[in-house]
Amino acid sequence: MHKLGRGHRDKVQQFMTITGASEKIALQALKASDWHLEGAFDFFYSQPHKSYTDTTHLEELYNRYKDPYTDMILADGITLLCNDLKVDPQDIVMLVVSWHMKASTMCEYSKEEFFTGLQALGIDSLEKFLERISFMRSELKDEQKFREIYNFAFGWAKEKGQKSLALDTAIGMWQLLFAEKQWPFVDHWCQFLEARHNKAISRDTWSQLLEFARTVDPALSNYDAEGAWPYLIDEFVEYLNENGIIQNGQF
């Protein structure tokens, strides 16, 4: 603060008083708006996630779930969290939570991940957490966010140190994700993989599947064989044709 000129300092004070934000955030907002207060307010309020969270409350929350022996939240802690939130541990909203946390792997959260995620969501208590659940569910409806969450899921669900995602984990994730997104072929896709592929899923195949589900219609009428789809998807289309699931563009 003492590095700033008087005028700027005043503005920072004013900003903090009005919005209740931290000094750091105030500086960020004012810098982004070239030290115009109105602009800074716009900037601040357009990022609803960056609302003020109390770190001490967060500590308390974290300690509730953290494993007794390690400085992380492990499976038991997560189960407890889910109970508190009144959601099933398999509920897809937990994926969204993990996404906000940028969690590196499923079934565990580091302290940093927990803090990052909850701060981003503006949560520092269980009540606020419960409130944000519906907001997080709504995020899945956003096309862009869903894609980010979907692609995030790959890295999160796979084993540490592995390049590819084990098939059954992948299938589980797909069932979950496409229940939200409503892709009519999800069951056929999983059957096909179990029958014909039986190997891990690469990142490219994972991400391209979403594109396929988004762009190609249920009758496969706009499927382009020259479309540089991963070969697994080409084989899937063949499988659908062979088994009469798609006939003459009818599904």
């Binding site: 390049k163 590819s164 690469s202 990142r203 490219d204 195949t205 391209q208 594109e211 020259e226 479309g227 540089a228 991963p230 070969y231 080409d234």
Partner: protein, 733 residues
């Protein structure tokens, strides 16, 4: 002096009016008219040229040119009318004669008349833009005689009739025809065309249409073509003799259209005599004729080429899918070569080496040869056979010929990498068993392959030759060093093979007999002594041995066997009878190999140095083997080893194919990386096209495989998909 005015002295123009006597013109004309009459009546000799000329001159000078000219016209016209009548009066054949004669006379007359009227021709006529005398004479002849209705129709009819008669074999007066033609041509640019040529072409078209219809019903293809050719030549000759040269191309077009173009398809497809039959029966003359004739019509050669191509493709396809033929690879390939020779001969001798036909032949061969995935293997087997025995005693030039022909077939292969694999295997067997007819021939073929496919293709093959040579030197060194100690033991000959150059072999277990083992150790020590840092492993599945055997009645034979067989036989030095297990245990040879080698030793007539109990065909674990005391053979040296290259069994073929597919993956990846490194960003279809282009000299990559390789490279982070366009790939440095 008087004051009179003086008048200027005027000189008046000399107004000498020569008033010509009006009767003068009339009189002069009469003289000239009379002269013309005389000329036409063949009485020109009595006339004085000088006088007539002067009269004409004076008439023109005194402004009576008009009278002279019109008088000329009238007089000539009346004469020509008379001539016309006399021509019309001529009967039948004499018509033409009469016409011709009168025409000649008219020309002569015209000449004389023009000479007389030269002054008018040069002055009055140009000034008044009237037709000059000579031309006038032609025009009048044309209008009055030729175009008089009676003469015109009759002339046309008779000319055409003459042509018809000549076409049916009669002899006509060609000289007369020529004169008449020339007359028509002289009479003006379109007289020949309109009065004769047009109708000539029409009538000819009808004639040939009928004739061709008749021929096509009654003749076979070859005969028909002969007839067509004859007619064509006839017409050309006819034109040269008595028609305008410009008519040639027109009449030949008519013949070509009616006789050839209209019946093209029927001729080519004619049963029992069409193009295909000609090819099968090697009727070079007929084929040549067909080529020359069909060349003249649009799409004629295209038709011939297409029919030939589909025939070659069909027969080729039959050949490569016929299981009978495929049983003997050497025979199969010989057949292909014979087929190629046959077609080459047809193209050179009958189709005048036409490049488009060559190309069609090449693409057909490429098409059907690659229908059979074993073609590369079979060609290698063929070469193996030739280099083993087929080329024994053949001159160097002939060897080159055979190898060049094989190279031609090689070029058609799409899967050259498969050929390379087999060739390497077969070459290894040839080299190791020492069974090659001519090392020069081997080297020559390698050079040809290098020229065709580049250094990479043959570097390993050349490595194999080098190893053989080096091994010889090594053996020399070995004998020199250990000469004394090894003199008593078995004679060992070792080839040291560099692992990378030779076809990969699985390492198999095999316990060599004690006598051999000692020798092998000595060699190993010697070799490793002179070459540090190397590892040697005995390839017991690739060796051979010569054994001296004595049988029951004292017959001695020399047995040439594989190393495995040697190990088995040596056991019988200490026992007359051994069970399968008793053989398997000490030798430790893998079961399938052991069974195969026992089969050759015990179950093949003429080579059964062992007896088997029971006498079944196959080897069972429970069998017992006995030394066959009663073995006999006509030959002293008996060859039992199974080292020669053979057509692979189905499972072996599958295995090789799998290995080839595995080898292709890194090649495809290397190509992808090369391309992306240069281009940085490229879309999917273009990558596939570029990779195919780069690799096509070795094999045709499968687009699905290319896609899988791209995905593998994406996973290993050599490439990534473009964020905006999923069909685009980027190279990651």
């Amino acid at each position: 002096m008087s004051a009179q005015k003086k008048k200027a002295f005027q000189i008046e123009a000399f107004k000498h009016r020569v008033v010509v006597d009006p009767k003068y013109a009339e009189k002069t004309w009469k003289i000239l008219e009379h002269a013309i009459h005389e000329i036409y009546n063949h009485n020109a000799s009595g006339l004085s040229f000088e006088e007539l000329y002067r009269n004409a001159y004076n008439m023109v000078l005194h402004k009576f040119g008009e009278k002279l000219y019109s008088g000329l016209v009238t007089t000539m016209t009346s004469h020509l009318k008379a001539i016309s009548s006399s021509i019309e009066a001529a009967q039948g054949g004499l018509f033409l004669d009469e016409l011709n004669r009168k025409w000649a006379e008219h020309n002569k007359a015209m000449q004389m008349i023009r000479d007389i009227l030269m002054y008018m021709d040069r002055t009055f006529i140009p000034n008044t833009h009237k037709t000059p005398v000579h031309e006038l004479g032609l025009n009048l002849w044309r209008d009055v005689v030729i175009h008089s209705s009676a003469v015109q129709t009759r002339l046309q009819a008779i000319l055409l009739e003459n042509v018809r008669r000549e076409r049916s074999g009669e002899v006509i007066d060609r000289g007369l025809m020529r004169s008449i033609s020339k007359m028509l041509m002289d009479l003006g640019p379109s007289v020949y065309q309109d009065d004769f040529e047009k109708h000539f072409l029409e009538v000819s078209a009808d004639f040939y249409r009928l004739e061709s219809q008749d021929f096509i019903e009654s003749c076979d293809c070859g005969e028909y073509l002969k007839k067509a050719e004859r007619r064509l030549n006839e017409e050309i000759e006819r034109v040269s003799h008595y028609l305008d040269a410009k008519s040639e191309v027109k009449i030949t077009n008519v013949v070509e259209k009616e006789m050839i173009e209209n019946h093209m398809h029927r001729l080519v497809q004619m049963e029992n005599s069409g193009l295909v039959n000609m090819i099968v029966d090697e009727k070079y003359e007929d084929l040549g004729r067909m080529y020359c004739l069909f060349r003249r019509v649009p799409n004629g050669l295209v038709l011939v080429r297409d029919v030939m191509t589909s025939y070659i493709r069909d027969t080729g396809k039959q050949l490569v899918t016929d299981p009978e033929r495929l049983k003997d690879p050497v025979d199969f390939v010989q057949h292909l070569l014979d087929l190629k020779d046959k077609y080459d001969k047809i193209i050179t001798s009958a189709f005048s080496n036409d490049k488009t036909f060559q190309n069609a032949l090449n693409s057909s061969f490429e098409y059907f040869m690659n229908l059979n995935s074993r073609s590369p293997e079979f060609i290698s087997l063929f070469v193996d056979d030739k280099l083993r025995k087929g080329l024994r005693g053949v001159t160097e030039e002939d060897v080159e010929l055979v190898l060049d022909k094989v190279m031609m077939l090689f070029r058609y292969l799409q899967e050259k990498d498969v050929f390379e694999k087999y060739y390497k295997q077969h070459l290894a067997k040839r080299l190791l068993s020492g069974k090659t007819v001519s090392e020069d021939a081997e080297r020559s073929l390698i050079v040809k392959l290098k020229t065709e496919c580049g250094y990479q293709f043959t570097s390993k093959l050349e490595g194999m030759f080098t190893d053989m040579k080096t091994s010889q030197d090594t053996m020399q060194g070995f004998s020199a060093r250990h000469g004394a100690d090894i003199a008593d033991g078995p004679m060992l000959s070792v080839q040291v093979l560099t692992t990378g150059s030779w076809p990969t072999q699985p390492i198999t277990t095999c316990n060599l007999p004690a006598e051999i083992r000692g020798m092998c150790e000595k060699f190993r020590n010697y070799y490793l002594g002179t070459h540090t840092g190397r590892r040697l492993s005995w390839q017991t599945n690739m060796g051979t041995a010569d054994l001296k055997a004595t049988f029951g009645k004292g017959q001695k034979h020399e047995l040439n066997v594989s190393t495995y067989q040697m190990c088995v036989l040596m056991l019988f030095n200490n026992a007359d009878r051994l069970s399968y297990k008793e053989i398997e245990q000490p030798t430790e040879i893998p079961a399938s190999d052991l069974k195969r080698c026992l089969q050759s030793l015990a179950c093949v007539k003429g080579k059964n140095v062992l007896r088997k109990e029971p006498m079944s065909k196959d080897i069972a674990d429970t069998d017992t083997f006995l030394f066959n005391d009663k073995f006999t053979s006509k030959f002293f040296k008996v060859k039992i080893g199974t080292v020669a290259a053979q057509r692979e069994s189905e499972p072996e073929n599958q295995e090789t194919r799998q290995r080839v597919e595995e080898d292709r993956k890194p090649q495809i990846e290397a190509a992808i990386v090369r391309i992306m490194k240069a281009r940085r960003v490229l879309d999917h279809n273009n990558i596939v096209a570029e990779v195919t282009k780069q690799l096509q000299s070795r094999f045709l990559p499968n687009p699905v495989v290319i896609k899988k390789r791209i995905e593998s490279l994406i996973e290993r982070e050599f490439l990534e998909r473009d964020k905006g366009d999923r069909k685009l790939y980027r190279y990651l440095a």
